[in-house]
Structures are given as structure tokens and as C-alpha cells.
């Protein structure tokens, strides 16, 4: 295996790649959210990650935990909607778990993800199957927890997130704005699950090799 690991620079790189994904897939996320929500998820995430990159440049945090907390705070104060508090909480709790850690191993990293996901569930009260980002995150965190090394674990986590994302399509939404649609929400992929998959995919690109 390689020299890539979860440290300050790779975490910044991860966030940079995620920001890029949000910019590139902005319109896709807008369209997914137009179908079952209010059409702003792409704009919200793109705006938030731009702001996060500015904040990272300004404050130059020194470890992965601080990087994630900086991004989390930027998201909380610039995204709004459901995604702002949820992604904010996810990254804030991960950041808390990684506070003052560096060169993080897979076990620690998986635990940080678990803490982040717990935060998302505590905040949003969604269960797996409710057709939310939780459906992409839950199997991803689980995969990471089963993994023996970071590289393989991240790849499997991203695959699990992707499957979780696809699996939201037939579901009937029970949380968030899409729940107003009732049965009519079935047949559409969840936008938040989709952006969550991109978060995992960015992690693979930045942290695995």
C-alpha cells in the first residue's frame, strides 16, 4: 500500500475534491431535488463548499479534525435548508472525533464516521429506508467499520454508498421535503444520498490510492 493517509493535507484535498464534485454535479443535484424537493440541493451544496474552501484558505487549520470542523462551520452558516445542519453535523462530529489526531488509521477513521452518522441521525431522526442521505451513509460507515485497511475500506465504503444511493430510487420518502410527495416520491433518486456518495467518492480519490 501507499503513503496516502488521513492527515491534514489529504483531508484538505478530500474537501477540495468534494467541492469540485459539488460544482460539477450542481445541476444534476438541482434536477434530482426539483423532482422530489424544491430544487436547491445542488446550489446549496455548491455555495457551501465554495465558502468552506475560502474558510480553509483563510484559517489554515493544522490537523484533519480542525479541517473538518472548519468545513462544518462554513456549511452550517452558508448552506441552510436541511443539508446545512446535516452535513454540518456530520463533519463537525467527525472533526470532534479526530481533534488533534493526525495520520489517522482506518479504525479511528471509521469511528469518526460513525460519530458523524450518529449526529446526522440525532439531528434529522431519519432511519435507513426513509430515502435520505442516511441511506448512503449507513452502509458506507458499516463497510468502513468492517475494513482492515484504509484504502480498501474507503473503496468499499464508496461502493456501498453508491449502492445505497441507487437503492433510494424505489423508496417512498418519509423525511424531509420529499415526504410531502408520499407515494409519488418513489422512482426518483434522493439528492442528499447522491451528494453523500460524492463525499465518499472524493474520499477515495484523496485518501486512498
Amino acid at each position: 500500500m501507499t503513503a496516502v493517509a488521513v492527515n491534514r493535507d489529504t483531508t484538505v484535498d478530500w474537501m477540495r475534491r468534494f467541492a469540485q464534485e459539488m460544482a460539477e454535479h450542481r445541476q444534476e443535484l438541482v434536477e434530482l431535488d426539483t423532482a422530489i424537493g424544491d430544487g436547491d440541493h445542488g446550489t446549496n451544496m455548491d455555495r457551501g463548499m465554495r465558502k468552506a474552501m475560502e474558510k480553509l484558505a483563510e484559517s489554515a487549520p493544522g490537523d484533519p479534525g480542525a479541517v473538518l470542523k472548519t468545513v462544518a462551520m462554513a456549511l452550517v452558516s452558508s448552506v441552510g435548508g436541511a443539508a446545512g445542519p446535516l452535513y454540518g453535523t456530520l463533519l463537525l462530529q467527525m472533526g470532534n472525533a479526530l481533534a488533534n489526531r493526525d495520520e489517522v488509521d482506518v479504525v479511528t477513521f471509521a469511528a469518526a464516521w460513525r460519530r458523524g452518522l450518529d449526529g446526522v441521525v440525532a439531528r434529522g431522526k431519519a432511519q435507513p429506508g426513509d430515502k435520505t442521505m442516511v441511506d448512503a451513509l449507513t452502509p458506507a460507515v458499516h463497510a468502513l467499520e468492517q475494513a482492515h485497511d484504509l484504502d480498501g475500506g474507503l473503496v468499499e465504503a464508496a461502493q456501498a454508498a453508491e449502492q445505497g444511493m441507487y437503492a433510494t430510487t424505489p423508496l417512498v420518502a418519509r423525511r424531509g421535503r420529499a415526504s410531502y410527495l408520499g407515494e409519488r416520491s418513489a422512482g426518483h433518486q434522493d439528492p442528499g444520498a447522491t451528494s453523500s456518495y460524492y463525499l465518499l467518492r472524493s474520499a477515495v480519490a484523496a485518501l486512498a490510492d
Binding site: 438541482v30 426539483t34 424537493g37 424544491d38 430544487g39 436547491d40 446550489t43 446549496n44 455555495r47 452550517v76 452558516s77 452558508s78 448552506v79 441552510g80 435548508g81 436541511a82 443539508a83 446545512g84 445542519p85 446535516l86 454540518g88 439531528r123 434529522g124 418519509r174 423525511r175 424531509g176 421535503r177 415526504s179 410531502y180 410527495l181 408520499g182 409519488r184
Partner: protein
């Protein structure tokens, strides 16, 4: 998409600049974060009232800031709930020592952002009134619950008046909850709206179709049907409202016919005539009314109806003076 804007990114900031230019003598506008605040805030000893939500529903909420109504409003991006730092900043700005009431419409985003804000508001007592009056949404454990719509305007006006009387935070919050409990709404659309950032209509409707039970962000409603006369549209909306509370003969009500932003006033007047007829058929006494664009969805055409079963206290608070850009009387 044709809009009177400079750019989708700047529309909220530009409109706040317009408010500052127009009402700068009465309102203080901050841009980082976005807040619209009574110029004389905090009012000592008065409960501060903060509301907020996505932009695109004007005059709600920024247009309701002023004596007798809100102390501050937090405008989010278009159709996107505002962020906790806005609410924190607004809460601190209007804290006159008697605590601050947050008025929150029941949408996942609004609820979570206001929750985070309340967690951050150390040193200020905060109470929250959640509005969820939209009977078009099934209220169950398996949904995000009913949306907050027209009743929000009434809660803001009535709580605003109660706060001016120097009632306690608990009393103002309880009154607000009672208004929400006794109010019901339902809306419909003739046409969708287009957010500046997406550039595409929120949904598509055939040339002869209407959507019944629509939300204020273009969320789809209960069903679509061929457009009928105004009398039929009014029945579609009044039926579920009247059943839900239920309102009963002899009740005194406030009837609120709200335009979604693109509906001409002449059509709202036609709708009001139908609402009054149906209310009379049910033995309701309309004691007060409100007709116009108060909680809108950009340029959407359509309307919503809200009925509030009034008690004496609400009535007196409704009649109390209010002096805001969007609602003004007795001042």
C-alpha cells in the same frame, strides 16, 4: 426565465439593499449574516420576536418587521431556510431582557437550523412556536408533518401585538401555539414558479390543469384536476380546512385569502366572495379578513385560504396597531 434581478446569486442581497434604501429609517439591515431588524431593537423589557425562512415568500418575513409584529427576520436564499448564525445574530440583536420567541415554519430545514440556533443562544431564553397548518399534508409519523403556511402570518401579527403589551415569553409563545392550533390552511396553484438559481419551473401543469394542495415552495399537492370555476376551487380548499379543525357553526373566524405572488387582486376578490359564501353556509362568522399577497411563492399564480377560529384575545391582538412595510394599521 425572465426576472427583474441582476443575477441569481445576488437576488437576496439586492432585495435587502432595496429594503435598506426604502425603509432604512425604520429597519436595520445586516448583510453578514442577512438580518432585517427593527431599528429600535432591542426594545427593553419586551419579548423579542424572530422569524425567518427562505426568501421568495415576500413580504414574509422581512416585510413584517416593525412595531407590533416582528423584531427581526432572517431571510435565507430563495426557498432555502436560513442558517443558525443568522438566527443567533438576530436573537442577540432583539433580546431586550424578556427572552426571544422563534417562529418557525415546519420544514425539516427550518426546524433543524432554528434548533441549532437555539442551542447556540446561550444567555438568552428562547421559546419556539412551530407552525404546521397546511391540511394538504397528511400529518403522520411517517412524514415531515404538516407544513407551516398562511397561519404563520397570523401568528407573527398576533404574537407581535402580545409582545408589545409586555406579556411574558411563555404567554406570547402559548398564544402563538394557540393560534397555530386553531388555524388551518390549504393552497392551490394555476402555474409553477421558477427559482432564480434553477431557472426551471418547479413543476409542469397542463394548460387547463390546477394543482390542489400545493406548498409554498412548489411542493406538489394532493391532486391535479381540470380548472373549474372559482366557486369550485374555493370548495376544494375550504372543504378540507373546515373538516380538519373542525370549525363549527357560530365560530368567529378570521378569513385570509392569500395570493401566491402572481395572482391579480381582482381574482383574490372573486375568491374571497366564494370563501365568504361557503363560510356563511357553515354558519361561521367572519370577524376579520386579510386579502392579498402575504406569503408568496415567487411569481406562482394561485392562492391559499387560511381560517383561524378567533377568541377575544386573538381578535384584540389582531386589531392592535402594526407598522411594518407589509402590514400596517393604527400607525
Amino acid at each position: 426565465m425572465k426576472k427583474l434581478i441582476n443575477s441569481p446569486e445576488e437576488v437576496v442581497a439586492d432585495s435587502l439593499r432595496g429594503m435598506q434604501a426604502a425603509y432604512g429609517d425604520r429597519l436595520r439591515i445586516t448583510f453578514d449574516p442577512y438580518c432585517v431588524i427593527r431599528a429600535d431593537a432591542p426594545v427593553k423589557g419586551k419579548v423579542g420576536i424572530v422569524s425567518g425562512g427562505g426568501s421568495g415568500h415576500e413580504p414574509m418575513h422581512g416585510g413584517f418587521v416593525g412595531p407590533g409584529m416582528l423584531d427581526a427576520a432572517c431571510p435565507g436564499e430563495v426557498f432555502t431556510s436560513p442558517t443558525p448564525d443568522q438566527m443567533l445574530s438576530a436573537t442577540k440583536a432583539v433580546d431586550g431582557g424578556a427572552g426571544v420567541l422563534h417562529i418557525v415554519k415546519n420544514y425539516t430545514g427550518d426546524v433543524m437550523n432554528f434548533e441549532m440556533a437555539a442551542e447556540m443562544c446561550e444567555g438568552t431564553e428562547v421559546e419556539t412556536v412551530l407552525t404546521n397548518d397546511d391540511v394538504a399534508v397528511e400529518d403522520s409519523l411517517y412524514t415531515a408533518g404538516r407544513r407551516g403556511v398562511g397561519v404563520t402570518v397570523l401568528v407573527e401579527k398576533i404574537c407581535g401585538a402580545a409582545a408589545e403589551q409586555r406579556r411574558s415569553l411563555k404567554e406570547v409563545a402559548e398564544l402563538g401555539r394557540r393560534v397555530n392550533d386553531r388555524g388551518r390552511s390549504m393552497g392551490m396553484a394555476l402555474s409553477p414558479c421558477t427559482t432564480p438559481s434553477s431557472g426551471n419551473p418547479s413543476f409542469e401543469l397542463a394548460d387547463d390543469e390546477v394543482e390542489i394542495g400545493i406548498g409554498i415552495h412548489g411542493e406538489p399537492g394532493r391532486f391535479r384536476e381540470k380548472i373549474g370555476p372559482a366557486s369550485q376551487v374555493a370548495e376544494r380548499l375550504m372543504g378540507p380546512i373546515l373538516e380538519d379543525l373542525p370549525f363549527s357553526s357560530g365560530d368567529r373566524v378570521l378569513a385570509f385569502v392569500n395570493g401566491m405572488g402572481g395572482t391579480p387582486l381582482i381574482e383574490l376578490m372573486v375568491m374571497y366572495a366564494e370563501v365568504a359564501r361557503i363560510a356563511a353556509d357553515h354558519g361561521l362568522r367572519i370577524e376579520r379578513n386579510l386579502i392579498g399577497n402575504y406569503i408568496t411563492s415567487l411569481e406562482m399564480q394561485g392562492c391559499s385560504i387560511t381560517l383561524l377560529a378567533l377568541d377575544d384575545d386573538m381578535l384584540a391582538c389582531w386589531d392592535a396597531p402594526v407598522d411594518t412595510p407589509g402590514m400596517r394599521w393604527g400607525a
